[in-house]
């Protein structure tokens, strides 16, 4: 079982973390402003947009993978970029999968609180930017939750990256696609070992984030 704990496994873990961090970061950069904007914006068809967002939050990874595959395949519209079966393709698929989730959670949190926060900011005489900063600070718990949810989804997802990444050894093989492969090979022991490892890594990442956050709050109180 332990023969997997080698350079190859380390490569797989690094790739998984790199991919997950990158897709979560891009999705947060896109999804948070989008969610905040969606809450404040007023236009016809907004309810439809929200309903579409809700649907995309539950979009099956396999379908997202297929769509990205069709876009990136050689005869597809973006085939000339040669991105299929690359790290970038996996990040792209994950961004499409996770951005709606982050956007949706942020939208819901904002819809629940932003009206009060905006009124309050106005009574305090905050300008536009000060209001935005206040809103983000006041919603920071919800934003954190959105990012963590997106991160978890990115880390555990297998359907989309299997299709667009191709599970190529030393290249696009991640922890989840490895688990899927080990299962196909009938090597259940190693699949479980990798599964536990994946969960422990996810747990360690959560622990790290909550430690950082606690430190942040403590410095707040030392005013």
């Amino acid at each position: 079982m332990l023969d997997l704990l080698d350079a190859e496994l380390l490569g797989i873990i690094t790739l998984t973390l790199r991919m997950t961090l990158m897709s979560t970061t891009i999705s947060a950069i896109l999804g948070i402003p989008l969610g905040l904007w969606l809450d404040r914006a007023d236009f016809t068809g907004k309810r439809l947009v929200v309903a579409i967002n809700r649907t995309l939050m539950a979009s099956p990874p396999v379908v997202v993978g297929l769509v990205v595959y069709l876009m990136l395949m050689r005869n597809g519209p973006f085939g000339f970029m040669g991105l299929l079966f690359t790290f970038e393709a996996m990040v792209l698929a994950q961004v499409l999968l996770i951005t709606p989730i982050i956007c949706g959670i942020v939208y819901t949190a904002s819809a629940r609180n932003s009206e009060r926060i905006h009124l309050f900011a106005q009574t305090m005489g905050a300008n536009r930017w000060q209001t935005k900063i206040l809103l983000i600070r006041e919603l920071s718990n919800e934003l954190y939750f959105a990012i963590v949810t997106g991160f978890g989804r990115a880390m555990s997802e297998v359907g989309a990256i299997m299709i667009v990444g191709g599970n190529i050894r030393h290249h696009t093989r991640t922890m989840t696609t490895s688990i899927s492969l080990l299962r196909n090979r009938g090597e259940i022991d190693q699949a479980i070992f990798l599964g536990i490892l994946l969960m422990l890594i996810a747990f360690a990442v959560q622990l790290l984030i909550s430690l950082i956050r606690r430190k942040e709050r403590r410095t707040d109180e030392n005013f």
């Binding site: 106005q122 005489g125 600070r137």
Partner: protein, 226 residues
């Protein structure tokens, strides 16, 4: 300060103010039964709610000169101290420690200065939101029901503070309260609001002690019985 032909409809309720003018430096009271539109009128006047039609004109005042203390105060997810100094921070003003201490003592919050503000009791939250609205000396302050929920001693202290400040540096206040004693002690003039209309308006004496309008008489009887 003038309001004319103001109209606002919220669902089944509609507020219509033909004409209203306020004199700077005076304290106004708004009374009226629940659902008469007190909060809506205050929000409209404070610029927190856009009117359907009509105009509100505060010559010489910018939004930064106007504040409102809500029935349910909003406290930022931070310490009491940071909440109190927040309006100063927004204006880039360094908080004066003596002033900060003065207000914290006034609100009995000295010992909680570094506590998490949303964790305070509701009375403490209201006192904090009051001192937070006063610390930056706005020219026009709306106070929605906040006094009614304070204990007698705190309410009296805040009343005294407002009256003292009026002596030195007069500002305009619009206060709504169910307890007429606060209105009586604080206000120069009172509006009686019923069903979205101003039914009576006059000096505090006239409105509270010599009411002429039948709805007002009815309302005052009702409130005094309680």
């Amino acid at each position: 300060m003038k309001i004319s032909k103001l109209k606002k409809t919220l669902g089944a309720f509609s507020l219509e103010i033909e004409h209203l003018s306020l004199t700077p430096g005076k304290i106004y009271g708004i009374i009226g039964p629940n659902g008469s539109g007190k909060t809506t009128l205050m929000k409209l006047m404070a610029g927190l709610l856009p009117p359907d039609s009509g105009s509100i004109d505060w010559p010489g005042l910018t939004p930064r000169d106007i504040t409102m203390v809500f029935k349910k105060p909003y406290l930022i997810h931070d310490t009491v101290l940071r909440n109190l100094t927040y309006p100063l921070t927004l204006r880039g003003l360094p908080p004066d420690p003596a002033t900060v201490d003065h207000y914290l003592t006034l609100a009995d919050l000295q010992k909680y200065r570094n506590a998490y503000a949303p964790g305070l009791s509701s009375g403490e939250q209201q006192k904090l939101s009051l001192i937070r609205a006063m610390i930056f000396s706005p020219k026009l302050t709306f106070i929605d029901e906040t006094f009614s929920n304070l204990d007698m001693e705190s309410a009296a202290r805040f009343e005294r503070l407002i009256l003292d400040r009026q002596q030195k540096d007069p500002a305009t206040y619009v206060i709504c309260a169910h307890q007429l004693s606060h209105i009586h002690r604080l206000c120069d003039e009172v509006l009686f609001l019923s069903n979205g209309r101003i039914e009576a308006q006059g000096t505090t004496e006239d409105i509270l002690l010599h009411p002429e309008h039948p709805l007002l008489q009815q309302y005052l009887q009702f409130v005094q019985m309680q």
